[in-house]
């Protein structure tokens, strides 16, 4: 079977980009990735995006971005899987390369969220929930995660302070990342003193509404050689998996198991031929602190109910056994929803090339996990240093 390697990675800083539109951000990230690979054309483009329609009244992102990036008459489409759109777009790009149909593929994840009023943004994000049985009742995305958070704390005896440690860790790493939205460390008290958005979930338990775009270029090792891309730049896409769970939280078999992450991870581990203990760093989807805990459990880094224990024991820091959110995670780097999975990929590439601003020593294998919905659509990718 063919192998897939990432040969170029680029991104824009995450933030409130008042002066830039969706197309500006996407084109900038895409050209950064192409320049990084040293190429000027690609065979196709996959765009990870969740809700450009409601946010900026723009769909048909494949045509928009390929056109404005000057890529010619290539095939280009948008991939949507709620907040996991970016991770899913990377997977579609890899699949195109592995299938042999396309040799050099560009993936760009983009989301422009700050052009909407906050309460409308809250509504659009809830489109990833079940419209008739969740949003109908006024459920926001934060509220659904708050229901999980309270149940998790009650079931395993954790406190708001315990979960705040995930935010503290994310900010500590994000402080060193020039592309992060929040470049300052915080304390547990910062989280605890922040206002409740949906009790017991506070503002600092949640990732911000923001804008950003990230991009990677995928090809085969043979083609990479032909294009003259130096081997130090290659990062292998070793494994990938994707799975869904019930779209509504109430229908879940177990509220505290991210079944979709578990299934996706099993597939990704099997394809890569690795186990959780082989992973040097985990980029998990910490859109809310409780999701970081549940993700560590679903990915096999912690036993069920012990995800938050890893944070309490100091095991999630850069130099510990299970480093997570090495460049700030969704919490501090920012979470431009449909772009997040591609940002995670770019960050994994930087770690594995040894170019990350907060480097995990000797990182060889990294994992990214991207959650759509309240755990309803999840992608897991495993990357390896070539």
């Amino acid at each position: 079977m063919r192998k897939a390697v990432i040969i170029g990675a680029g991104m824009t800083p995450v933030g409130e980009h008042w002066k830039l539109g969706l197309r500006d951000l996407a084109v900038e990230a895409l050209l950064n990735a192409m320049d990084d690979a040293g190429i000027d054309k690609v065979d196709s483009l996959y765009v990870g995006n969740m809700i450009s329609g409601p946010f900026v009244e723009q769909e048909n992102l494949g045509a928009l971005i390929a056109d404005w990036a000057g890529l010619g008459n290539i095939p280009a489409v948008k991939i949507e899987a709620a907040c996991a759109s970016g991770g899913a777009a990377v997977q579609e790009g890899v699949k195109a390369v592995l299938s042999g149909l396309e040799d050099v593929v560009a993936v760009v994840g983009v989301e422009k969220m700050t052009d909407a009023w906050p309460s409308d943004a809250t509504r659009y994000l809830a489109y990833a929930a079940d419209a008739e049985w969740e949003l109908f009742h006024g459920a926001s995305f934060v509220a659904l995660n708050a229901l999980v958070m309270r149940y998790y704390m009650k079931t395993y005896g954790y406190t708001e302070e315990d979960l705040a440690l995930f935010a503290v860790n994310a900010h500590a790493n994000g402080a060193k990342n020039p592309y992060a939205m929040f470049k300052r460390p915080i304390k547990v008290e910062t989280v605890l003193k922040s206002p409740y958005v949906a009790d017991p979930l506070k503002l600092f338990d949640a990732s911000p509404v923001c804008d950003g775009a990230a991009s990677v270029i995928i090809t085969t090792p043979e083609k990479a050689k032909e294009l003259g891309v130096p081997k130090e730049k290659w990062v292998e896409v070793a494994g990938m998996g994707r799975a869904i769970d019930t779209i509504s939280l109430a229908s879940r078999e177990d509220l505290l198991t991210l079944k979709a992450a578990k299934v996706a991870a099993e597939r990704a581990y099997k394809m890569a031929g690795v186990e959780p203990k082989d992973i040097d760093f985990f980029e998990v989807h910490d859109a809310f602190t409780v999701m970081a805990a549940l993700s560590l459990e679903a990915l096999g880094a912690a036993k069920k109910g012990e995800g938050a224990k890893l944070a309490k024991e100091g095991q999630i820091a850069i130099d510990a056994d299970y480093p997570i959110q090495t460049m700030g995670g969704l919490k501090a780097r920012g979470h431009p929803v449909g772009a997040t999975g591609v940002y995670q990929t770019v960050e994994a590439v930087l770690q594995l090339r040894g170019e990350a601003p907060s480097q995990v020593p000797d990182a060889e294998i990294g994992l990214t996990q991207n959650i759509g919905g309240t755990g309803s659509n999840i992608t897991v990718n495993v990357f390896r240093r070539v």
Binding site: T122, G138, A143, A250
Partner: protein, 134 residues
Amino acid sequence: MARPMQVSRYWRHFREKYMLIGGKCENGHVHFPKRSICPVCGSRNVEEIELSGKGKVISWTIVRNPPSGFEYYKPFPLALIELEEGPIVLAQLTDVDPEEIDFGMEVEVVTKKIREFEEDGIILYGYKFRPPVK
């Protein structure tokens, strides 16, 4: 804000939202809302079942920054309620002091206004849950 055809969209779910109609498959699995395929065993032999509307709170939150359209009601309590027949339902709690909400609190269904639309004038009703009226 974009508005789908609220009338047809709402009346499609009249039975579930007014009468709490769920589904029960040939193997006895009960779910809500009713589906044509049992989410547990995959059976397509599913009958309608009217749920009692009695249940207990298994988790809850206070929504302080709701999606647009619900600003008027904020803050409001939203909960996951386990019905006595087994299914879990997401709904707002009503007629309750937020301080009194607790794990395992008994609640019963009640039909209430969910939301008003300013432009087309539609008022949506549906189920909410409250502490049992003695």
